[in-house]
Structures are given as C-alpha cells and as structure tokens.
C-alpha cells in the first residue's frame, strides 16, 4: 500500500510559504481519502484509533466550504470524509472486504454516465435503423 504522511506536519511556519505548503499537503491528503484502499491501509495500521488523527479528520471538514472545495479534483473525497466522522465507519474499514465493496461501488457509480450514454446511443442507432428501413 501507499505510505501516507503522518498527521504531524513539519513545524508550522507563520509565513506564507508555510501556509501554502500546508494548503497543498492538506489538499492532497484529503483527496487521498477518496481511495478506499488507502482508507483500509490507514485503518489496519490503527490510525483511526488515534484521537488526534480523528480530530484532524474533523478539522479537514473545512474542505466542504465552496471556496476550498473548488480546488478538489476528486470531490467524492468529501463524502468519504463525512463518513469518516463516524466511529462505526472507521471500525468497518479494517475489513478488506468492506474496502473492496466500497471500491466496486465507487467504480460502478463512476461508470454511470458512460453507461447511460451508451444506452442512449444504442437507442438512437436502433431508431435510425428503423427509419432507414421504413424509408426504403
């Protein structure tokens, strides 16, 4: 699995460079939460039992605000972040099967629109075929 950074960030500076860095790090990290395999990794290594980590997850909720959310390429991470606020969810993620299930659902959902489009295209093609045969 991937090695995520430990929660403790480098000594925080008060100048802009430090804040800029922190912004990017947190931007990356929060989006990593969209990866169910990574969540499984974190769960198995006991990160979710660490009180300060749980507090950090709560702190990350600021990414829900529109002025921050617009930087997210993977907005689904916010849904994961919300779920992670619940202890029950964090406990379940220790199971590899749970992570796998989430992964499958995510991918299926991801494909929803392309499948829909394919169906529409098929329907359109069939209809055109019918028109052609009737014209002849």
């Amino acid at each position: 699995g991937c090695r995520g950074a430990r929660v403790g960030l480098p000594a925080m500076e008060t100048d802009d460079t430090g804040n800029r860095l922190r912004f990017q790090l947190e931007l990356e990290f929060v989006q990593c939460l969209a990866n169910p395999n990574y969540l499984n990794f974190l769960a198995q290594r006991g990160y979710f039992k660490d009180k300060s980590f749980v507090n950090y997850l709560k702190y990350l909720l600021y990414w829900k605000e529109p002025e921050y959310a617009k930087y997210l390429k993977y907005p689904q991470c916010l849904h994961m972040l919300e779920l992670l606020q619940y202890e029950h969810f964090r406990k379940e993620l220790v199971n590899a099967q749970c992570a796998k299930f989430i992964d499958e659902q995510q991918i299926l959902h991801w494909q929803h629109y392309s499948r829909k489009r394919m169906r529409l295209q098929q329907a359109l093609a069939e209809q055109q075929q019918q028109n052609n045969t009737s014209v002849k």
Partner: protein
C-alpha cells in the same frame, strides 16, 4: 292629644336633621301631615263641645301643618328634579354602554390586525433569512462551469468511455498519483523513481496510463495567496468543541502537548 302633638313635633324635628332618601323624607312628611291633620280635626272636634285645655293650640298645629306642607312641596320639587337627573343618568348609562361595546369591538379588530401583522412579519423575516442564505451561497455560473469542466475532463467523476476492467484509472487518486504528490515526496525523498514513478508500482499492471503528466492536476498550485487553510495548532490532541458525533460520553480532557509533533511514522 298632647302626647300625639309633641310626638308629631318631635318627628318633624327628627326628619329635618337626618340625611335620608328623598322618598323616605317624602313619606315622613306625608305621615306628619296626616298626623297633624288628624290632630287638628280632633282638636276642632273637641273645641266644639268643650273648652280647650291649651288655648291657641289649634293655630300652633295649623302653623305646623302649613310648615310641613311647605316642606312637602319643596320635597316634591326636589323629587321631580331628582327624577329628571335620574332619567338623564339612565340615558348616559346607555350611551356609555354603547361606547363600551364599540371599544370592545375595536379591541377585537385590533387584536386580529395585530395577529395578522405578526404573522406577516414573521413570514417576511423567514423569507429574508432564506434570501440571505441563498445570497451567501451564490456562486458565479462561470465558476461552476469551470469546475464542472475540470472534474469531468480529467475523468475524475465520470469514467472514460474506453474504460474496461484492467484499466488502472480510478475515480480517486491511485497509488501512483499519491506517491508522486507532495506527501509522497516528503516521505520517500531518496527513492524517487524515474519521473516520480516508483518501480514495482501500479505499473505492474503492464501499461502506463496516458493521463499521466509530470504535474498532476489534483495537486493544484494555482491558489491565490489569501486562500489559506484555517489556522490550527499542530496539536490535535486537544478535543475540539462539538466533537465526535457518537461518542459524547467518551470525551476526555487531554493535557496539551507542548511540542509540536512532526515525526514520520515509517
């Protein structure tokens, strides 16, 4: 005879001193008149037959009679006036009653109006609240379109049309992307592979996804300087206010850690 006369005189004196009702006084005066008239008639009847024991008594009674009659006439006038006043009072009372009911009617209407206004004001306030809420959440359509384009064009929220099982692309940052980001660089500074790709990675899948670029767009650096994360101490040991949704009972007060933690885990 004598007892009755002095009795009438006593009664006349008594009646003049009391503050009794006009009716009583009228009745008393009538009684007196009756008594005096009787007395007079008795005396006159007696004087026809025998000598009067007290001379001049009949003129005395007569005078009393006249006096009492005078009083009686006064009392009658008084009674008449009082009657008129009473009548006026009754009329005024009626007017007062009417006014009272008018006031009550107005009161009812005012109450109704107040109720209606209160409702209207309340609803207006609710409306204003929702307007304010909507205004606060306003986003320019241009920004929304830009964002929609951003998350769709990179296949972040919608799978690429050519996707088949086996394609390493995912709706979340993959191992590869994670390692190539800032976080990955921080933890593995010395083991960077070529182009940020580590050996034995998702590349084991066999192919290099063609969406890879040296600068992964999910680690945006196009931020403006005033767009910074909310301030926090590195000390997440402190329980923030309004904590875990389920464990309200498990709250412990942690002691503050004076040093900031910055250790790497692995």
């Amino acid at each position: 005879g004598a007892g009755g006369c002095s009795g009438a005189a006593a009664m006349a004196m008594a009646a003049g001193g009391e503050r009794s009702s006009t009716r009583d006084r009228l009745l008393a005066a009538l009684e007196d008149l009756e008594l005096l008239a009787r007395e007079l008639i008795e005396i006159l009847a007696i004087s026809r037959n025998q000598k009067l024991p007290q001379p001049g008594e009949e003129s005395q009674i007569l005078e009393l009679l006249i006096q009492r009659d005078g009083e009686f006439q006064e009392l009658m006038k008084l009674a008449l006036d009082q009657g008129k006043i009473h009548h006026e009072m009754q009329l005024l009372e009626k007017v007062v009653e009417k006014r009272d009911s008018d006031i009550q009617q107005l009161q009812k209407q005012l109450k109704e109006a107040e109720h209606i206004l209160a409702t209207a004001v309340y609803q207006a306030k609710e409306k204003l609240k929702s307007i304010e809420k909507a205004r606060k959440g306003a986003v320019s359509s241009e920004e929304i379109i830009k964002y929609a384009h951003r998350i769709s064009a990179s296949n972040a929220v919608c799978a690429p049309l050519t996707w088949v099982p086996g394609d390493p692309r995912r709706p979340y940052p993959t191992d590869l992307e994670m390692r190539s980001g800032l976080l990955g660089q921080m933890n593995n500074p010395s083991t960077n592979g070529v182009n940020g790709h580590l050996p034995g990675d998702a590349l084991a899948a066999g192919r290099l996804p063609d969406v890879l670029a040296p600068q992964y767009p999910w680690q945006s650096s196009d931020i403006s300087m005033n767009m910074l994360p909310p301030n926090h101490s590195n000390d997440f040991m402190l329980e923030p206010p309004g904590h875990n949704k389920e464990n309200e009972d498990d709250v412990e007060v942690m002691s503050t850690d004076s040093s900031s933690s910055s250790s790497d885990s692995d």
